[in-house]
């Protein structure tokens, strides 16, 4: 670990300016990801701008839905009555993540910005284009059992580890950010990036920008939802594959649907084609299996993650069944 300066501004403007002044400065929120990365010499900030004193912790209803401050903790969001009632999918996703202690510290902004858990990213002695552009992708020919089956490039096959973000992309959230050029809104599906030629960039957040809040529009996905997370132990493990499924049902027919996957790509993986195909279909195991098959089109496995080609469609079917009350 490298020693660093530490500042704790109380004003948003001051936080942004402090960050902009110093090329090696970084924001810190809950610290649950950043500190680990610093300890392993994966990121080496020279200054930490602690944003915990900024007033970004609120969870409030808006005319269109809900606004969640970037500093609201993962537990606060998961347990908030409004979220539990109107956005249960988000609540479920959050609760499936990490451990109670971590969720108490972890923030919404930090969760979105958390880095991949790819082994090669975490070990400064091994090649990783995300950590050190041009050094190669260790996972491509290495141990890639947890890696992507969609949207990867030959530069990077890592996956985004967040559960929360899978629910947020399914719920069509918008991210409110601010920076040197002022405030802007980013649709959630465009917030994270695919690796392409630049795996070092996880998101489209610009340099020196700060996440202020996440807006989720009210929707009819309040009842028939399910977040399914498949993992190697009962709790406190990242997803092998996860599925956020939300259905709007009219008796036995699907009026509208949302579907996204985690653990399969460099970003939370929204399945819009599959969603469209569900509309108007009857609720049945068959419908869901067809959807799963459609969702898997274009998937490709590496040496150790071929199981995902089977697990992912199974999980989609299972999540949809549970959401529909078939299981």
């Amino acid at each position: 670990m490298k020693n660093f300066q530490y500042v704790r501004p109380t004003q948003q403007q001051a936080a942004l300016e402090t960050l902009a002044q110093d090329d090696k400065a970084m924001f810190i929120a809950g610290g649950t990801n950043l500190i680990d990365l610093m300890k392993r010499n994966v990121v080496l900030p020279e200054k930490l701008v602690d944003i915990n004193r900024l007033p970004l912790r609120k969870i409030e209803p808006t005319s269109k839905g809900v606004r969640i401050g970037a500093l609201a903790s993962n537990s606060e969001v998961a347990e908030h009555p409004l979220i539990r009632e109107k956005f249960p999918l988000l609540s479920q996703a959050l609760i499936s993540g990490a451990s109670a202690q971590l969720r108490n510290m972890a923030t919404v902004g930090g969760n979105m910005m958390q880095r991949t858990r790819c082994y090669y990213f975490y070990d400064a002695a091994l090649p990783c284009n995300k950590r050190q552009p041009g050094s190669g992708c260790g996972a491509l020919q290495g141990i890639n059992s947890k890696h992507a089956i969609f949207g990867f490039s030959d530069k990077c096959i890592a996956v985004h580890p967040s559960d929360m973000c899978v629910a947020l992309v399914a719920l069509e959230a918008t991210v409110l950010v601010t920076g040197p050029k002022g405030e802007r809104q980013v649709p959630f599906k465009d917030f994270h990036r695919l690796p392409g030629e630049h795996p070092e960039r996880d998101t489209n957040l610009e340099k020196n920008e700060l996440i202020l809040a996440v807006d989720i529009p009210a929707s009819s996905f309040t009842q028939n939802v399910h977040y399914l997370k498949v993992r190697e132990r009962a709790s406190y493990a990242f997803a092998l594959v996860s599925v956020a499924a939300a259905l709007d049902l009219d008796k036995g027919t699907i009026r509208n649907a949302r579907l996204a996957m985690g653990g399969v790509a460099h970003k939370p993986w929204r399945l819009m084609e599959a969603e469209k195909a569900l509309v108007g279909k009857p609720v049945s195991e068959e419908t869901f299996q067809q959807t799963a098959a459609l969702a898997m089109q274009g998937a490709k496995a590496f040496e150790h993650n071929a199981y995902k080609l089977k697990l992912a469609p199974n999980a989609i079917t299972q999540a949809l069944k549970t959401a529909a009350g078939l299981s």
């Binding site: 082994y119 070990d123 091994l126 399914l228 406190y236």
Partner: protein, 741 residues
């Protein structure tokens, strides 16, 4: 006095841990918590290649960094006389040349410590450590057991064994033969390895370390630095888990000592989690093949067991992979072969149930496979082949209640209700399966010494160098002493965890209770005898002339059996005009032990659920029936079984140290990615302790309990998974990925 009588503690009572309060209030001090005056902090720089040599090391930046007191490498490390001495394999616990810290430019394994940076704060030492730049001359390394089986050697201390005809299973009417694989597993105690070392001017070394054996630490430091016993002290009363990983001297101890010598101040070295994976031991992976043949009625005819483990290139670490096979069942023909594959890795180290755990996974899985081949109940098959003496050497068992384990375990579990057909039981989307396995583990005893002192207030102090790394040893030794002396727990004190106390063997191999417990028992018995002798010879004493058979010791006093006369211990000392009375006693098992085979036994019954869609496995309930002799403390004994079961769940379902063999480097070396069970993975565990005395091993009737419940346990889970799904997983861990493919 009345109070004392109310609180008379006996062997077996479920007494709370004597150090429990210290631990839960944070007052128990661990190795890295000795904030000695002037303490400094050492951080290890470790190699990033698995084999080769250090071409150059640039330490200039690090040396100039703020707060840095020293950067120690092979170029400037103080000489360690023991490193130059010829290898003596006679008494060495591991055969070969021990790893020599900062000795030369050779790299033997990845994560090898190559420098120690000492600074005035931990943060500064950490930063400076990251500034050391190393250039290597790399050589081709090999770290994969599977690809190097052809390089296997017969270890210098062979484990091979045979009786009867070789490979007799081949011609048996019913036979199974399969290969079983287990991966690297890492002890991963919560407390990473740590040492605070002090080197005083007159060559006196004190280490506050994390060890299972203060005497071994002391002796190994004496050997390394060519010092006398009185010059070396190891102090380690509290250990945050070890499981075998602290049973020898490791680089963090040597580094802290060398650092302390160089900077002339105490140095504290704490390993980082990733460093623990390939520096301070691990359970070696195994590749095994088991063939079993039986008659159509299920009588075993022959077993052939071949096993491969790994070791480093500098030492031969052997483990008892073949032991369960040799002794578990009555089987006239048996041959066992054990080989080592030397690799460019650090030396493995004993890991809870070392060898037996991996070996029994293969044996007990194969027994289950045989049961299906015979169309026979797996429990009946085992009962049918019960061995009424140890088939390895024809010796009678010192005691054996395995049949009781089978019987009581099966009853409690409801084994009869099991539908024998695989895939026959379901609960919604979950496939339900039940499996069982037996276990066997050596129950032995080693030489130990204890000191007992009767103090002027009538209390008893007992001392031994033994460690208590968590099982509750200090508690049961207090209990044994109180029981023998007739004193209350408040008036009985046990001191442990320091090499300056009387000799004790290391706390490993499940032999602490039998060894040190006996010494405590014997020394207290000797102290009583001395009290009695003095009391009956005292003129004017109410006990004058009494026969030994006629006196009892209770309520911290001595009295005549039929009389009411009693003399408290403190009055006794006063009468004798003694400030205190002390006895030291050495105990060992004596020749009787050699006429018997001492083993602990267990039978584990497990119910699992496997999700038919996701392949997730959940252990639903466990019944573990254990014959560990007489139970010294039902609470701590039960906790040992809980711990073993949790370990077993981890080994069966999740633990796996992954190495990218291109780099010879562990990749999942943190606790986020190296999985051990969390609470949600641990079901109801029912423990049955048979609690019958072993008449041979020690005077208390105890055998060992720390490891036995783990032996066979992983197979019980694999067998249950097979019963649930019809899928036989012979390659641990049993993950969703394997079940779904």
């Amino acid at each position: 006095m009345e109070k004392a009588s109310l609180q008379q503690i006996q062997i077996g009572d479920p007494l709370n841990r004597v150090e429990g309060q210290l631990k839960v209030t944070g007052k128990a001090k661990y190795a890295a918590e000795y904030n000695l005056s002037g303490v400094t902090f050492g951080v290890m720089v470790t190699s990033t290649i698995a084999k080769g040599r250090i071409k150059s090391m640039d330490t200039k930046l690090a040396k100039k960094a703020p707060g840095v007191l020293a950067v120690i490498t092979h170029k400037n490390a103080p000489e360690v006389p023991g490193y130059k001495a010829a290898v003596n394999n006679e008494g060495a616990r591991v055969y070969g040349q021990e790893f020599r810290l900062f000795y030369d430019d050779q790299i033997h394994h990845n994560y090898q410590p190559i420098a120690l940076v000492v600074a005035d704060t931990l943060a500064r030492a950490n930063e400076a450590a990251s500034m050391v730049k190393v250039q290597y001359e790399q050589e081709t390394h090999h770290t994969d057991i599977s690809r190097n089986l052809d390089q296997a050697i017969q270890p210098a201390r062979p484990e091979d064994y045979s009786r009867g005809e070789e490979d007799a299973y081949l011609t048996a009417p019913v036979k199974v033969v399969h290969e079983y694989h287990t991966p690297i597993q890492v002890h991963n105690p919560m407390e990473t390895h740590a040492t605070t070392a002090v080197w005083e001017a007159d060559n006196k070394i004190t280490v506050y370390n994390k060890t299972q054996a203060t005497k071994i630490s002391q002796q190994e430091i004496m050997k390394a630095f060519d010092l006398k016993e009185e010059n070396v002290q190891a102090h380690s009363p509290f250990v945050g888990g070890a499981f075998g990983s602290s049973s020898r001297l490791w680089p963090q101890e040597m580094a802290a000592i060398l650092g302390a010598k160089v900077v002339g101040r105490p140095v504290q070295v704490v390993l980082k989690r990733d460093q623990v994976f390939n520096m301070v031991g691990y359970r070696p992976p195994s590749r095994q093949k088991v063939g079993i043949g039986a008659s159509a009625e299920g009588k075993l005819i022959g077993i052939t067991h071949e096993g491969y483990g790994i070791t480093s290139r500098y030492e031969q670490f052997t483990e008892r992979m073949m032991d369960p096979t040799k002794s578990m069942y009555h089987c006239p023909n048996l041959n066992a072969k054990y080989r080592l594959v030397p690799l460019d890795m650090s030396t493995p180290c004993w890991t809870r149930g070392p060898g037996e755990t991996s070996g029994s996974f293969a044996l007990e899985s194969a027994m289950d496979e045989l049961a299906y081949a015979l169309n026979m109940d797996p429990l009946s098959l085992r009962m049918k082949n019960y061995a009424d003496k140890d088939p390895e050497n024809e010796l009678p068992w010192s005691s054996n209640y395995l049949k009781e384990c089978y019987k009581q375990g099966a009853e409690r579990f409801g084994w009869q209700k099991r539908n024998p057909t695989p895939r026959s039981m379901r609960s919604g989307e979950w496939q339900v399966g039940m499996g069982m396995a037996s276990g066997i583990y050596k129950a032995v005893r080693d030489r130990a010494v204890a000191r007992a002192k009767l103090l002027s207030d009538g209390s008893v102090l007992v001392q031994s160098a033994v460690a208590d790394v968590g099982p509750g040893s200090a508690t049961i030794f207090t209990q044994i002493a109180a029981d023998v002396m007739g004193t209350s727990i408040e008036k009985t004190r046990f001191e442990w965890g320091d090499s300056s106390l009387p000799h004790a063997p290391g706390q490993f191999g499940s032999h602490t209770t039998a060894s040190v417990g006996s010494a405590v028992y014997d020394v207290c018995t000797a102290l009583k005898q001395k009290i009695q002798e003095l009391a009956v010879n005292q003129k004017g004493s109410s006990l004058q002339g009494a026969q030994a058979t006629n006196v009892v010791f209770e309520n911290a006093s001595i009295r005549l059996k039929n009389g009411t006369t009693s003399l408290t211990y403190s009055d006794f000392l006063q009468q004798q005009q003694l400030p205190s009375l002390e006895v030291i006693k050495e105990s060992d098992g004596g020749p009787l032990l050699e006429k018997y085979s001492g083993k602990s036994f267990c039978a584990n019954f497990v119910e699992v659920r496997v999700h038919s869609v996701t392949g997730e496995v959940r252990v639903q309930r466990v019944v573990s029936a254990v014959d560990a002799g007489k139970i010294m403390n039902h609470k701590t004994a039960q906790s040992q079984v809980y711990g073993a079961v949790v370990w077993g769940i981890g080994i069966a379902l999740m633990e796996e140290g992954l190495i990218d063999h291109r780099y010879g480097r562990h990749v999942n070396n943190d606790l986020a990615e190296y999985h051990v069970p969390v609470h949600a993975d641990v079901p109801d565990i029912e423990v049955i302790l048979i609690d019958k005395e072993d008449p041979v091993i020690d005077p208390m009737g105890a055998k060992g309990i720390g490891e036995i419940p783990l032996v066979g346990f992983t197979a019980a889970i694999a067998n249950a998974v097979y019963h649930a799904t019809g899928q036989r997983i012979r390659n641990l861990p049993i993950t969703p990925a394997k079940l779904i493919s």
